[in-house]
Amino acid sequence: MLFLQLLLQGIQTGALYALTAAGFALIFGATRIFHFAHGTSFTLAGYVFLFCWNGGLPGWFGTLAGIAVAMLFGLAMERLVYRPIQRHEGSFFTVFVAAFGVAVVVQNLVGMVAGRGFASVDTRLSLATEVLPDVFLAPIFWIAIAVAVVLFAALSAFLTRTHAGVALRALAQNPDLLRAYGLSSNRLSMLAFAVGSAMAAPAAILTAMTTGLNEAIGHHVMLISMAATIVGGVGSLRGAALAGLMLGVAESVALQFVDTQWAEAVSFLVLFAFIIFRPSGFFGVAQTR
């Protein structure tokens, strides 16, 4: 029964990792910008929801507010940070340092406004009950699964059945050709940031209910997102989502076999294994030089 329990908990965690990683992968895949501040979108969305919840506002309002703030932050990063850098030299390192700097500044601002410490949404949705002998499940398990499934279905439909979605995929593959067809890569880049950042918000809200938040949580989120993007195959959305799910399950199920302190290390063992044996990830395209 311990294995089943760990598997179910891993699926819940993995669903949240998948949502966050997919947002990062969408941005990175379409724009090739290493958006390190994606974790900050997550943090902001979580805290905005928390403020709304604690302020007695309805959950749907908090959710929309969280999504809006995450999107606005992503758009602001694209317009005010990444685009000016890319206008000049746009090296990977400059972009990374700029994003890291913004993440640190926002982390401190969140700490100053919301307090430095643990904060969580007080809800009975996270309270598990025994559904089978020694197997505990909380209502939020089903919510996490449902949210992940619905959002991935919606994202897939958007990317395959709408002009904007198809253009986003084209931006990822050949931006020059896209411009030759008269499409604006700047607008599409903004769209990628808006949609990718919005994907982090539901995961942040569910995390606020389950494991809780602190102002530094964005760094952990980024580690997972980066690992999932590499394991899934750089540029592959479904790869990142699948890898996020797999990392969550691996982190949890590992406790059946190893001591509790190794749970997080298992995620990174998986990452190393992929880097060594399958550097292109699940769905990445292998390249030869």
Partner: protein, 375 residues
Amino acid sequence: MSGPQIARRALMGTALAAPFIRPVAAQGSDPYVIGTLFPMSGPNGEYGTLFTNGAALAIEHAAQDRMLRRPMRIQAEDTQALPQQGVIGMTKLVNVDKAHYVLVGFTAVSKAVAPVGDRAKTIMVNGGAVGPDLAGLSPYFWNVIPLAHLETQAFLPFLMRRNLKRIALVYVDDPLGDAILGLLRTELPKTGGELAGTFSVPRTAQQFGPVAARVRQVRADAVYVASFGAQQAQIIKGLRDNGIRQPIVGYSALSIASVTALPEAEGVIFTSQKFDYTGGSEITRRFATDFKAKYGSEPGAYNANYYNAVRLFALLAKELEAQNTEVNGDSLRATLLRVREFDLVGGKGRFDDQGNMSAEIQVNEIRGGRVVPIT
């Protein structure tokens, strides 16, 4: 080279150096530098604010009472509760800021910075970390908080009386967690208890649902949480949300607001120093009243400890000023060992040869978001 040229250069050099040349009298009124090595950001940033609030109030009180001829000022360095950041901060405090006295917290940070302070003969005072090996770390390292072994000695008989004999330990993988593990391993059997299971978690761990599943397996009477900062609140929530109904117990680090305000922490039992803010000494009452007026909340043990740490410096420096002796690590230490007993918040603070202050321990329970003493 002609004479006028030299004169012009000398004049220019003197003019440029003038702002940096201070009269002896001015140096004598320079503030005493109280360095702080606290986590001011990151998941343990909450502690930095708690620690600093206590120290800042003590500086205000010392100034109001005109205890010293020179003012005191805080020079803060953010450690993020990480040893390497602590060493960088300590090196700057002793070499650049010429700190007279450094306040530290967190076991791993304290152990990392102690050699730096020892070499520089700078007094370091801990009011937040409880790792038992912090006793005797250096002649210049003092503790104004009872260390974990003292908390455990008081706590284990209490647990046995409540028939909480099989203890599962969830501990952070760092020197503090290891120290508590060692203590429970040796002390529990002596009091008739046993360690039902031990579960180490990395400092960066965020997910505790799977850990709770493992903890459930050992069917313990109580779960002892030995971590700090945001993580201990996450552990408690993770355990409660995932079917752990046994009492959760721990040590003084649980007295922070993010834990006490957590609905899942209702009923958590932990030890801390004994403070009587209403019926205690005048110093204690003044501290409690002014703290509430300044910060709008009741003071906690950490606030009091760092208040005491700074007040101790003021008392020692006052003695030295009266004797016209320079205030430095050696003179402060010699005065501490000579006087031994000081009027501090909570009553008389008595120091042993290693600079450890003894204090009474009480057992508390979190009830309705408040810490209520139950012994």
